[in-house]
């Protein structure tokens, strides 16, 4: 795990509960108590109504691929050793979209609309990164 070379997310006050949940391999999103908007990435204020009244809700971790690309060129540390990798925009069942990677799947088998579910990669003692794998048939 110490060999992880890619950029590591910065945990701050707003995102701490998100990353704590990821560490337990659970996906949580912020929900505005005033207007009900779900949001990702975690922020102090609701982007819709600017309310700070926030609750955390558990997500199913299931969704589908909205769009994706297979990256063949990235000389950044860590990425260059994993080429090609699938970068995807995932629409969760709850309606929130996340950017992530699709793993445990050949790049040529990935398609728009493909059902996926979250899988967590423990990258160090504090952080487990949510990625997605195809949902079993």
């Amino acid at each position: 795990m110490s060999g992880y070379q890619k950029p590591i997310p910065q945990i701050d006050e707003e995102s701490k509960p998100f990353w704590e949940a990821c560490k337990r391999h659970e996906l949580y999103m912020q929900k505005c108590r005033d207007c009900g908007t779900l949001r990702y990435y975690p922020r102090a204020l609701c982007g819709n109504c600017l309310s700070s009244d926030t609750e955390w809700v558990k997500c199913s971790g299931r969704g589908e691929i909205y769009t994706f690309t297979v990256t063949y060129q990235n000389r950044g540390a860590g990425f260059r050793d994993e080429l090609p990798y699938v970068l995807a925009y995932i629409e969760l069942e709850e309606g929130v979209r996340m950017m992530s990677n699709v793993v445990e799947c050949e790049p040529e088998k990935v398609s728009i609309g493909m059902p996926v579910e979250v899988v967590f990669e423990d990258i160090n003692d504090e952080i487990a990164l949510p990625r997605f794998k195809p949902l079993p048939e």
Partner: protein
């Protein structure tokens, strides 16, 4: 309340009444805006200038623009310089002041504008606005970037910094990757084909081959684009603009003054500048850029023209698919019609609506802080009838500049004023 009149009881107005007063006051100022024209342009060749410094490039472009304007440089009252990342790429800050100093412009205010790849479009707009508002009479706008002295890895990471860095880079998002996501979605949503997308690259390489300032001079075929190696599947190498160095400058002044100073002034009749999504996570659609929609609406409204009135376009084809999306966002074609339009030759130099006759970012090259003015440079030559790939008798030209992952856009509409 009468426009512009300061009421005697201003101190007794409530907040709402004060806002109404201010609104009317500003509206009056807008009505009083002066017309602004471009009287001189200059550019370096676009290339890999590894042996030169960035200040040397901005100096060359500035000197040529002042010479072209034929104006005494002591008349220049302000300088705006578009540059994205000279600190990170070549270790040089304060480029606006350095350029003003090197040009011998005295102690005039020199301001750097930054909006990622739209930095120079903003420099033009600020020049336009300050003249239109009557603050200055003569302003020089400059755009410059030097990228080739860094490794591709450093350039990729500096460009990725134009996105929101909180989360976008954790999963390995690159600029080509971003447009790979856009291309895949555009294909799925509108049936845009691989060949249609490749036609953008073929057309722009063809145009660039005969543009003396363009960086890439080679022609390419549809098969050549399709079969070049993947950068971010479905995006291939020839879908991408090259890393390039260059600088462009132009001198602007009130249109009344321009007609006395210059045989062929080109008037800026519309200007728009808007922000859109600053992180990929904010995007509701991957086939449109809200920043472009808003900036275009502002520019069309100011100019009092419609998309169908435009005769020649220079738009932001950082990747082939961007040209298709931009041409739709600018209202030049319906959504989904951008691909068929380029494939059928409608956007060629001799087509009904020529797009990127200069070769665009793909062939002229994309020194990110200079591109917005390079587009306007081409349009000025087109409207004067002096372009290398001359479009037949254009009256109105449109320049569209886009920065970041749709974070910033500027749109300018230019007209012959002779």
């Amino acid at each position: 309340m009468k426009n512009g009149a300061i009421p005697d009881n201003i101190n007794q107005l409530n907040a709402e009444e004060r806002i109404e007063f201010l609104f009317n006051f500003l509206a009056l100022e807008v009505l009083d805006m002066r017309d602004v024209s471009i009287i001189g342009v200059g550019t370096t060749p676009f290339s890999k200038h590894k042996e030169r410094g960035i200040a040397d490039l901005s100096l060359e472009a500035g000197r040529k623009a002042i010479e072209d304007a034929g104006i005494d440089k002591s008349k220049i009252e302000a300088l705006y310089l578009g540059n994205y990342a000279a600190e990170a790429l070549v270790g040089q800050g304060s480029l606006a002041a350095i350029t003003g100093r090197n040009l011998g412009l005295g102690q005039i205010p020199c301001t750097r504008t930054e909006g990622a790849c739209a930095s120079a479009g903003i420099a033009l707009r600020e020049s336009f606005l300050t003249i239109a508002a009557g603050i200055y009479d003569v302003v020089i706008a400059v755009g410059a970037e030097q990228m080739s002295t860094c490794s591709t890895g450093v350039v990729t990471s500096v460009l990725a910094g134009a996105g929101d860095t909180t989360m976008d880079n954790i999963y390995g998002l690159t600029f080509p990757g971003f447009f790979g996501l856009v291309l895949r979605k555009h294909m799925e949503e509108f049936g845009t084909t691989r060949d249609q997308v490749s036609c953008v690259s073929v057309k722009n390489h063809h145009n660039g081959a005969t543009n003396p300032i363009a960086y890439l001079k080679d022609e390419i075929t549809v098969e050549g684009v399709n079969e070049s190696r993947f950068i971010a599947d479905p995006l291939t190498l020839y879908d991408c603009c090259p890393i390039t160095d260059g600088a462009v400058a132009m001198v602007l002044c009130p249109s009344d003054m321009a007609r006395d100073l210059c045989k062929k002034p080109v008037k800026v009749v519309g200007s728009g500048h808007a922000i859109g999504t600053t992180s990929i996570l904010q995007m509701e659609s991957f086939t449109t850029f809200p920043a472009t929609l808003k900036a275009a609406e502002m520019a069309y409204q100011m100019a009092g023209v419609k998309p169908e009135d435009i005769d020649v376009v220079e738009l932001h084809d950082c990747f082939t698919i961007a040209e298709i999306v931009d041409s739709e966002d600018l209202g030049l074609f319906e959504k989904g019609e951008g691909g068929p339009a380029v494939e059928s030759g409608r956007t060629a130099v001799d087509g009904e609506l020529p797009i990127n006759p200069s070769g665009g970012l793909i062939s002229r090259g994309h020194p990110v802080g200079a591109t917005g003015l390079a587009q306007v440079y081409e349009l000025v030559l087109q409207l004067k009838g002096e372009a290398a790939n001359q479009v037949k008798n254009p009256e109105l030209g449109l320049a569209h500049n886009l920065g970041g992952s749709g974070a910033v856009s500027t749109v300018h509409i230019l007209s012959k004023d002779f």
